[in-house]
Symmetry: C2
Subunit: 327 residues, 2 copies
């Protein structure tokens, strides 16, 4: 089994590569080869005994998609993206990285497909940003897509392309709409959603965090570990039941900021909670007001995708995976 | 007022140009200049006294969009497309003509916008092919887009682009989803929907027509005259109430083939009806089975878009506009 990960140096990409190597097989087949690509050098999991091609390249640059596809990976994870805030600030870069690169990948596969029927499973990380206000709670699987950002638009368009290329038999694609990933390890990125993680991550590490929105703000979350689980599950299952639709909203937890803080209190105590400083930010409030608060995710649950059951679990996953298991 | 029509040599484009010239003004301003573009030479309406630039070019070719936009049209109608059957047969051409050309237009406008805020009204003809089975009857305005053809995918993607470019303030766009146009004048084109028109058009002209589907097949129709009316109305109205969504399903008539034939009987008599030859075609039946049967079109109706009230009217419009007013 040859697996390619595009966006392999990102937070999810690194965890995915590590888990694939640790689990040794995917969809019942032994992992023998890894192709890792990113715009910065992707780490190669140390314990992997198979063939690895780790390279620095931008999928949107001419020839890069063709080179990836020439190696005939059986499964391609396309995770590479710039985040919503950056896509809003840099219109051209957003369309290039978040849309044109995916299309270049699909096109490169289509050209190989024409030669001998090559048709890899392609797993694309879409986002709940394809949905925009006004939104119901919970949002059903068949709710219409009304993105309110360029990022969400780019994800929605890529979903449509993936469905059409799949329907035509060029790729075997699935788009999974990730919840907001919480708790994101490491430093804050440019996503407007950053505070959902930092109000937990920083206090757990004994540091102060800024909360720019009221406690009543509700949103949809899953852990990095759950996200990697979604990806591996998406690589393994039969997609025949999906029909022409190839996009699935992933399960998660619908929680308010207040509920996040209560979970922090239960897991890490009052002292951690006291490190959250409320500093309202009108711009972030306005952006977040248009975001989804919760989903049914019926199709994904029926197909066996699973996420955490509580925010306490999300915090415990962070402590286990990022903090060595204890505070 | 300077108006550009891309796809000006097509059936709708020609009728639109003629009507604009006949009405002399649009949105309360006198029409002084017309830019007509198509891949075959667009006719110039004879009675027009203003400046006309009619040229042969493909909007998807480098530089063409920039040239159109350099003339700073106040209103741009983008009607150019290849039909669903052709887009399904020629994947690359479909994406080039039905998607890349529109994006090139939006990009050309964005670059001009950056100079001095130029922001034309852009009216894009989308299609009910953005919807795919399973579909309710009637289909509400906020039903999710699940195109089952490359054509429908290309239209849905262009809708998303148009909404994002509008939200960002680069264009003032509106996508109108045309019903199937009935009765299409002239010869059959490569659209699988061709029979909806030919079972009326040919018998009205004393010729035989082939009906490839059962009488129970229901579909959504409006006349060419109504379609031109939609376009002109879309050029004239305030779009402020649309919010971030910029796509409107146009009103029309939901009718079965049997109801079409009954209308033909009422307007043109039994002899016309007897010219319809039933010749079932499994491929066309299968394609049509995934198509919409009727819409609410509430938003469009509230904004003042109007279509015919009966299929008898649709037939009468054809007799008036295409047959000199009598059989």
């Amino acid at each position: 089994m040859h697996i390619a990960i595009i966006g392999a140096a990102g937070m999810i990409g690194r965890k995915l590569a590590a888990r694939l190597v640790a689990e040794r097989d995917v969809a019942g087949q032994a992992l023998s080869r890894l192709t890792l690509l990113d715009v910065v050098h992707p780490e190669v999991p140390e314990t992997f005994a198979g063939t690895v091609d780790a390279s620095i390249a931008d999928l949107s640059s001419p020839g890069v998609a063709a080179r990836i596809v020439a190696g005939r990976p059986d499964i391609i994870f396309h995770l590479a993206a710039i985040v919503s805030g950056e896509a809003e600030l840099d219109f051209e870069k957003g369309y290039r990285i978040n849309l044109d690169a995916a299309r270049a990948l699909f096109e490169a596969i289509r050209l190989e497909n024409a030669k001998d029927g090559y048709r890899p499973r392609v797993i694309f990380t879409s986002s709940i940003a394809v949905f925009g206000a006004p939104l119901p709670l919970p949002i059903p699987d068949d709710f219409h897509l009304t993105p309110l950002t360029s990022y969400g638009t780019q994800k929605a368009i890529t979903e449509l392309l993936l469905a059409d290329y799949s329907r035509r038999g060029f790729i075997d694609g699935i788009a999974i709409r990730l919840p907001t990933i919480c708790i994101r390890p490491g430093k804050p990125n440019r996503a407007a959603s950053g505070f959902f993680s930092s109000i937990l991550r920083e206090p757990l590490a004994g540091m102060e965090a800024v909360l720019p929105v009221p406690d009543t703000v509700r949103h949809w979350h899953a852990s990095p570990r759950a996200a990697v689980g979604f990806l591996i599950h998406a690589a393994s299952i039969d997609l025949g039941s999906l029909g022409a639709g190839r996009s699935l909203t992933m399960p998660g937890i619908s929680a308010t900021v207040g509920e996040q803080i209560e979970a922090l209190r239960r897991v890490a105590g009052e002292k951690a909670v006291s490190l959250i400083r409320r500093e309202p930010d009108e711009l972030i409030m306005r952006i977040v007001a248009g975001w989804p608060q919760g989903f049914e995710a019926k199709m994904a649950l029926a197909l066996g995708f699973t996420a955490e059951a509580s925010f306490d679990d999300i915090i415990r996953v962070h402590i286990e995976d990022e903090m060595g298991g204890s505070l």
